[in-house]
């Protein structure tokens, strides 16, 4: 009995939704709708004034040929990430990821806002009054979450085909690297951020980790990172040998990666690692390797991986 009534309600609801969807093209013929974390959002057919509040969204926009008017800074910088900077002459900075300058967003008069999955609901309410705001579902720490994000943002921008093409390009590039790698055994690798009191090991579930795996690198976290956490606490120097692998990627937030490598080498515990003796430590840009997501970031990381691993 109860189930029957529930079914009726669901049916009724579905019918209503279908009816509304059917009516929508009539009332707003120049609009499309996308499925976001806050329900279905109607976006303009061809957005002209896009603001991205998420590094991944900025990446997707550029990858699909859209130039946003405003964006948040990269983590640890005062501008967009270095790998994206050449794509812009001048882009308005509307705050940092954690603190969005709502007035700056409003001043740009956006017609589409692309936001990060962890956007707070209160912020969403304010932003969605300025322009349709697209928030992807929060998947937690998932190395593949960027794919659905890319599709969603591309869809919101009306560039589905370009988005798919960008994803396919990344897959093709990763597969090509993996094929070359298969000649020798899959090399193991660890990604760390260097701190004066010890390295922090980055999670296996990061975007970069998933990408490296696809490219045939057996990246691991030495069992040091708890689930759902992006990195470990600074590892004791006594346990440094745990990060020994075929390759060690040393991420720093500063450009002078070489300097960080020299600083690390001054530590006797680091200098005696096997991977250091074989000169297989690769300083990498932390902005790109531990913070960015998106198809262009993926290409940039794979390029650096290729350059590092090819003799």
């Amino acid at each position: 009995m109860g189930t029957g009534r529930f079914c009726d309600k669901v049916m009724g609801g579905t019918l209503l939704a279908v009816a509304m969807l059917a009516l929508m093209p009539l009332s707003a013929w120049a609009e499309r709708s996308v499925e976001t974390a806050y329900g279905v959002v109607t976006v303009p057919e061809a957005p002209q004034r896009v603001v991205t509040l998420h590094e991944g969204a900025l990446d997707v926009a550029v990858a699909t040929g859209v130039t946003p008017l405003g964006a948040v800074t990269t983590r640890g910088g005062d501008n967009v990430a270095r790998y994206l900077a050449p794509h812009f002459d001048d882009i308005a900075i509307v705050g940092v990821v954690r603190e969005i300058n709502l007035e700056a967003v409003l001043a740009l008069e956006p017609d589409l806002i692309l936001a990060p999955p962890q956007l707070a609901e209160a912020q969403y309410r304010l932003l969605s009054r300025m322009a349709p705001t697209v928030v992807p579902r929060n998947e937690g720490l998932d190395p593949e979450a960027w794919r659905s994000e890319t599709r969603l943002f591309a869809q919101a921008l009306g560039r589905e085909a370009e988005g798919e093409a960008a994803l396919d390009d990344v897959d093709a590039r990763a597969a090509e690297l993996a094929e070359r790698m298969a000649a020798d055994e899959r090399p193991s690798a660890v990604l760390v951020r260097w701190m004066p009191q010890g390295p922090m090991v980055m999670s296996e579930a990061l975007f970069t980790a998933g990408l490296l795996r696809a490219a045939g690198v057996a990246i691991h976290d030495a069992g040091l990172v708890r689930e759902g956490v992006p990195h470990s606490d600074p590892l004791s120097f006594e346990n440094l040998s745990r990060v020994d692998a075929d390759w060690l990627f040393l991420a720093t937030l500063n450009e002078e990666g070489r300097e960080a490598l020299e600083a690390a080498k001054a530590s006797p515990a680091f200098a005696r690692l096997d991977v250091v003796a074989r000169d297989r430590v690769v300083p990498v840009d932390g902005q790109l390797w531990t913070s960015a997501t998106g198809p262009l970031a993926a290409q940039a990381i794979l390029d650096q991986l290729d350059a590092a691993l090819s003799p």
């Binding site: 983590r75 640890g76 910088g77 005062d78 951020r193 260097w194 701190m195 004066p196 009191q197 010890g198 040091l224 470990s232 606490d233 600074p234 590892l235 004791s236 120097f237 006594e238 346990n239 745990r242 720093t252 937030l253 500063n254 450009e255 002078e256 001054a266 530590s267 006797p268 515990a269 005696r272």
Partner: protein, 340 residues
């Protein structure tokens, strides 16, 4: 009482016994510091290496990791303990502590600023930290003098807390503005002995020697000063000069300790507190006892910091604050507080 004052820096018998006991304890703690760690080299394996078994891994861990941090802990503990005792004597305030009064924070901020401006050399850092410590010292004492807080221990600490808060947030601000040095600066917010090396320690030696010479020179006048400014003047000492010399010594000590291990709070509070409990208020006796007591606290806290969250480590500054905060509350609550 008079006989004791005539003895100058020479320890009497009761002090001698306390020193001997504490020194034995310190040797044991240093040994424990060599035997215990966050890694795979456990106490048994470390001990086997110490008594002559060949074990390259254990040898490396003990010689290159645990021995340096133990020695650094030894020097940093002594410096902070003595600096605390001096600062308390000169301000006649049992709550005067380099960490609480913004001296450590001043040193850390100066280092962070230098790092942002592009400095890296080890020796430069010590000078910068000492300069920052000196500035912090003068700032807080100046504030205390202006508002007449010198007579009220808690007000001096409040002024210090405000200065510490200001300097810490300025350091955080640098961290926000310049992420280039972010990882380096983060170290300067909470101190740690991890990854410190012997060359860091060697670089400290010249300024520590100067500090020791200064302390030897001012210990006796400082004890006279604790009897009151008039008495000290009557005995032929110059209170203003003594204060200045003591503050220079404190800045040298705290700057050196902070440049090596980052800001470590509460050591300068807890250690002189324990020393006075053991040997009474005379600064010449307290200073002696601070020498073993400071390292005891720092190295014990460091051992705990390695064991609690192995295979990672806690920052040492967090642990000393955990031990120190209850002592601060106890001192504030004690009735006889302002009699120093």
């Amino acid at each position: 009482m008079l006989a004791m004052q005539h003895s100058g820096l020479l320890p009497d018998r009761r002090l001698y016994r306390a020193m001997a006991g504490l020194s034995v304890l310190l040797v044991l703690v240093c040994l424990a510091s060599l035997l215990l760690g966050a890694g795979d080299v456990g106490p048994a394996r470390a001990w086997a290496m110490l008594i002559g078994q060949s074990d390259p891994e254990a040898r490396f861990v003990l010689e290159s990791l645990r021995l340096p941090r133990t020695l650094v802990g030894l020097v940093v503990g002594m410096a902070l303990g003595v600096a605390g005792a001096l600062l308390q004597a000169v301000t006649r305030n049992p709550l005067a502590e380099p960490g609480l009064l913004g001296v450590s924070a001043g040193a850390a901020f100066a280092v962070a600023l230098a790092l942002v401006l592009g400095a890296t050399a080890t020796t430069m850092r010590i000078g910068v930290a000492q300069f920052g410590a000196m500035a912090g010292c003068l700032c807080v004492l100046g504030v205390a003098r202006v508002s007449g807080a010198g007579n009220d221990p808690v007000r001096l600490v409040l002024a210090g807390a405000a200065l510490t808060g200001l300097l810490l947030s300025l350091t955080s601000l640098l961290l926000l503005f310049d992420q280039r040095a972010a990882d380096e600066i983060r170290f300067w917010i909470v101190g740690s002995l991890a990854g410190r090396r012997l060359e860091h320690l060697v670089a400290l030696m010249p300024s520590l020697l100067v500090a020791v010479a200064l302390i030897l020179a001012v210990a006796r006048p400082l004890a006279a000063l604790s009897l009151g400014e008039r008495v000290a003047s009557g005995l032929g000492h110059r209170p203003g000069l003594i204060r200045l010399l003591v503050i220079v010594a404190v800045a040298l000590l705290v700057g050196a300790a902070t440049a090596t291990a980052g800001p470590i709070a509460f050591v300068g509070l807890v250690v002189p507190f324990a020393a006075r409990a053991l040997a009474g208020p005379d600064i010449r006796r307290t200073l002696w006892l601070c020498l073993p007591l400071g390292p005891l606290m720092v190295i014990t806290a460091d051992i705990i910091s390695r064991l609690l969250v192995a295979p990672s480590e806690l920052p040492l500054g967090v642990l000393t604050a955990l031990c120190g905060a209850p002592v601060l509350v106890a001192v504030v609550r004690a009735r006889r507080m302002s009699t120093l």
